[in-house]
Symmetry: C2
Subunit: 704 residues, 2 copies
């Protein structure tokens, strides 16, 4: 029996040795592998954490946030705006639900305000100087919230002071501009008190849309430089981009009085609205109307430019593994009046999302793989100022390290469906998030399933999918995508555009955008606010936590292909007439598609194994930096900030690459060989080089 | 005794278990850690490999390379230039000593050549049209190598055709320009045949310096775009940057005839040279000289612009661990005539270095941590064309991934000492390399020890150190540092400037720059060539193989501090008079120094432990990308390519930040509040923002 004992001993010894090897192999974190005790370089998205976050985002907390945020008007740089900045700072520094760190840096920016002593005025004045009619100088106090000294009267920010008088533009030019929103465009034609707020969602007759009339974005005095106290500033008297003549917005009930009293030719059909009369072009008032012959409209604008301090608030959760990779989530804080929808519906979501994540952080339950930066922007309403100054100040750092920018400005326009805008690489992560979240109020449907019913397109790659809009300059994503070349998105819930033709939610930028308005008409129950918090939160976590960045570069191929086809179809003949071939563009698009497809396969191959973190890092760099390759600061020298060759503003009518569309549009009626046609060729080359350069970054990294 | 047995069993079991744990911990490469069998993510510089490379770089092989490379003239785009491109391609594809892959991409670029049918001519013509004197149309055939159809006659590339005639510039402007090199500037005054080549190092009397007279760099027709066949091209007739009037270079023996026959006022003292007469200003020839009164100088230039194919040759050794990090090493291949010194002395070194590394690679002995890219540039002599087109084509890829660019154009001007130019981050790695290599011909001295005797400066941080020159646009590093913002350097051996006042080695750009010239006068024995190969090779390996990138960002602080002090000292009063404070600049420099110092400590801390490769990667990204933060394409809109706020060309006299120096220089005599003074403020802000932005990237990556 000795051999049994020996055998037994050997087996036992082997088992011990084997156990030891296994323990050594797996159980002891190498100094090299473990960035911190308990953290693995291979840390990936934890679906349980994601589920927890989804569950904890609370509609009623969002509602309470909104109540507080919109309790008082908080115009950019006002005391209440500053107080809200402190509120955010305080919450982000909370020991139990705050972030790792938070700051509130301030910029000194040029804003514009009406004069308290001399309010803007629009009046009809008779031949002897009698005031026959005055437009309202403030909106009607329908809910008790439209009065008070902090409700800024309606005005056109940055419109210059002046007192023009006339009835219409003389042959020598327009003297002043009055702006109003027609009930046809905003209220489906309705205009009576009983059919408008506070009795419905619609814009009441005294409601006026405020806004910024500055042509560019960013602080007007410091283009390309952060608005710090010592920065070089342009001369305010000669700043480009301000309206040249006095401008004032009025409500449609006042517009009706002016417009319906005009005489003259009938205005074109497309100009007719729902004020209840035929719109005429003037000049002059009809003698059978409310005003005497030779009455004039006097416009007195006394707006003032003022240097004011505007704060951003920034908070960070440091990444556990790749702290030098940032996922940015931003919302602006400043409003025109109460700003319940715009922007506090978004700020309320931001606060709830950061609370839930901060709580998990402070408990030690979770830390993201990459860093998360929350941003509350100031002075957005005046021209995306806080966000733009931030990108100017931290240009290099942000460009080198930012994975994506998530913007949630208004979170809920209305409660019918999700809507998203963004660049192609972020499409898939938004889809993934939306598929996993139930649509509010629609049993069994996901947000995705509901979304696709409202906004869809036919994708050559995927069949029917929800359609993402493109990013213009409507909110704070603009400097990130156009100036820095960072993949960006904007997420919100919105209304059913088959049920109303409203251009936007009707109380937009008026004193009627209040908590009561949201609570009663926009999202009672706040389940859509919660849906947006969940969607944006899920996208955020997928970007911050996934080992492999959920940025899909192949999806850019579809955009390029669509632009190319439009160019071939609508510009091909014209270009040929000028001996300009689209051949190199076709080649460039094909190269891009090929390189993106090959990279996609490389990703799949890597994902099958235990991936080497350095290899994943190198791949993720390729994905993150793709958007940058479309940036060319020399492409559009006449533009301010716009440098992205795919998303710069398109003035030409063909839905294709903007540089090409715009240059063709300008060259259209010029002769063969003109400078304008040379510019078409130059724009085409810029585009080809950008696409070829993008493809080169997607190829295997050590390919020549 | 049972307890003894039990104890023994326990001890034995523990030992087995322990052994197993140790084996598991250290002996089994994790899939996650091992990018390839035998390769570790912590792979660092192997000093034995370095030593091997130093030993294997062979002076006689460099000599044989040079003999072959300079055997025939190889003007850009000529058949011999193409043949040499093939030679490089062939060597880099050699199965035993080649690289992983090599390519020879071609660009279609605008070059300039004299006409074969109508050679350029400079003659003195008498009043009746008789030719009284003709300058030489080619250099004297002193060694049998200056004749032949492939020796391009002396000319000024890009000078326009024309046949001006005059004796001097009339009040209506200069009609033509003749250029020559004075023996005072190149030969320490010597000019006789016995004292010049082939009897010495010096320029012979018929020698003519060719060169490009184009004001910018890069292919003239395709600024900012690679010169591919389909790229947009400017109209050659209106291309900016060409000389406006016919220009022709001549030798000093011909110049003597013309110059010493002039009459008129004595030229200023600083203009006098060593032709053996008093230089006069004219107009007209002196009646007692060689020419009749009313003789004229006729200049006939028949240069032609031609579109030609010029190749770059690229070869790559893929990095074992971080293949997406590139160390670039470049040298141009094209010459004016034989180009033995310029550039083949560098090409010869390039070939030997790539041979040694390729041999180690093919044997399986070594693979670098990061990728090494060797580049042979075309058409450098015409304006850094091949390298610039390359940077335009691969802008994004290069900017995102290139650790540094090493340029070795001419490797040996003469054999006295090393000389290096570069940006501060590369100073330390050049020093490290130089300290470890023996200086040729100086027993016991290192290259560093010898170098410091010729070029030194007093560093506040280090005491006496060799001084690095700054990078202008003299060679192919220009697009890398100025357009892409990549830390760059240029390395060569040169002469003792206390022993000669020669502006450059005397046969520069002449037909006398031959193998015989190098072999006899420049570097007999080729030990200086070997020294440069070793220095550049050592720098290359340290950059490609070191775990921690040997880029020292703190060393930039000294440059900033010196520039700041010059600005304070020489511009401070002037700026104050215009209410411009340097305070923000002082703060920015201090912030930079602080952030760089803290990062340096972080590096030291990391280096003490077994570092986590991801942490090292994140740190290395900070080091690599620092140079990028100084780039601002909107800083100097009137410049072509120059975007680096520290190294753009300085026209102002104060040795400080170029934007500030130049703007002050232009504003100097303008009034308070002028646009020129506003530009001074703008340049100051641009600078402050760049420095603050740079500091921000050096701070801990997850600091707000």
């Amino acid at each position: 029996m000795q051999w049994v004992k020996v055998l037994g001993g050997l087996v036992g010894a082997s088992a011990l040795l084997g156990l030891g090897i296994i323990l050594g192999r797996f159980a002891i974190p190498k100094g090299a592998d473990a960035p911190a005790p308990g953290v693995s370089v291979s840390q990936d998205l934890d679906l349980e954490i994601l589920e927890t976050v989804m569950k904890q985002l609370d509609a009623s907390k969002i509602r309470e946030n909104l109540r507080e945020l919109s309790r008082e008007p908080h115009l950019a740089s006002s005391p209440r705006d500053e107080a809200l900045a402190q509120l955010l700072l305080h919450r982000w520094r909370d020991p139990e639900s705050g972030l790792d760190a938070a700051e509130a840096p301030t910029y000194e920016v040029l804003l514009s305000f009406p004069s308290r002593e001399r309010p803007n005025r629009v009046a009809v004045v008779g031949p002897t100087g009698t005031i026959l009619f005055s437009c309202r100088q403030s909106e009607q106090n329908l809910t008790g919230e439209q009065g008070g000294p902090d409700v800024v009267p309606p005005y056109a920010a940055y419109a210059p002071p002046g007192t023009p008088q006339a009835v219409n533009a003389a042959k020598h030019g327009v003297a002043g501009v009055l702006v109003y929103t027609d009930p046809a465009d905003i209220n489906d034609g309705h205009s009576s008190a009983s059919q408008t707020f506070p009795n419905s969602w619609r814009l009441p007759p005294s409601g006026v849309e405020r806004g910024s009339y500055y042509e560019y974005f960013g602080d007007p005095l410091t283009p390309y430089l952060p608005a710090n106290p010592s920065s070089f500033r342009l001369n305010p008297d000669t700043v480009p981009g301000f309206p040249p003549i006095p401008t004032q917005p009025i409500g449609f009930e006042d517009a009706k009085i002016l417009l319906c009293n005009l005489q003259g030719t009938l205005a074109p059909a497309a100009w007719q609205g729902a004020l209840g009369c035929d719109y005429k072009l003037g000049p002059g008032f009809r003698p059978d109307g409310d005003f005497l012959a030779d009455s004039q409209v006097n416009v007195s604008v006394h707006n003032r430019l003022e240097l004011r301090n505007s704060s951003n608030v920034l908070g960070i959760i440091r990444g556990a593994v790749e702290p030098d990779r940032y996922v940015l989530y931003g919302n602006h804080r400043d409003s025109w009046v109460h700003g319940a929808v715009d922007p506090s519906s978004g700020t309320a979501v931001l606060l709830e999302l950061s609370r839930v994540l901060g709580t998990l952080l402070k408990k030690g339950t979770w830390r993201p793989r990459r860093s998360i930066v929350f941003a509350s922007w100031g002075a957005e309403e005046f021209g995306l100022i806080g966000s733009t100054e931030f990108t100017e100040e931290f240009f290099s750092k942000l460009q080198e390290r930012t994975v994506a920018y998530i913007n949630v400005d208004i979170s809920v326009f209305a409660n019918a469906t999700l809507r998203a805008q963004g660049t192609p690489p972020v499409q898939s992560v938004i889809f993934s998030a939306a598929k996993q979240i139930p649509a509010p109020g629609l049993d069994g449907l996901s947000i995705y399933d509901n979304w696709i019913r409202y906004f869809n397109r036919s994708s050559t790659a995927y069949g029917l999918v929800p359609s993402l809009g493109s990013l213009g300059a409507g909110s704070d994503y603009a400097p990130f995508i156009h100036f820095l070349g960072i993949s960006s998105m904007d997420i919100a819930y919105t209304y059913d555009r088959s049920k109303t033709s409203a251009r936007i939610y009707p109380t937009y930028h008026t004193a009627f955008d209040t908590f009561g308005y949201v609570d009663k008409f926009v999202d009672p129950g706040f389940s859509s606010h919660q849906a947006v918090a969940r969607t944006a939160g899920s996208v955020l976590l997928r970007l911050s936590d996934s080992l492999f960045l959920p940025l899909n570069v192949s999806d850019y191929g579809e955009t390029l292909r669509n632009f190319l086809q439009a160019a071939q179809r609508d510009l091909g003949v014209l270009l040929e007439q000028h001996s300009i071939s689209l051949g190199p563009l076709v080649t460039a698009v094909e190269k891009f598609e090929g390189a993106a497809a090959a990279l996609g396969q490389h990703v799949s191959a890597l994902q099958k194994d235990t991936p080497d973190p350095l290899q994943v890092r190198m791949l993720n760099d390729q994905l993150m930096l793709l958007e940058r390759t479309f940036l060319n600061p020399r492409a559009f020298p006449e533009e301010r900030y716009y440098s992205h060759v795919l998303w710069a503003p398109r003035t030409g009518s063909v839905a294709t690459f903007p540089g090409l569309a715009n240059a063709c549009s300008r060259a259209m009626n010029t002769s063969l060989g003109s400078a304008a046609w040379a510019e078409v060729q130059r724009q085409l080359s810029i585009l080809v080089v950008a696409l070829e350069g993008a493809a080169a970054t997607l190829r295997p990294v050590a390919d020549l």
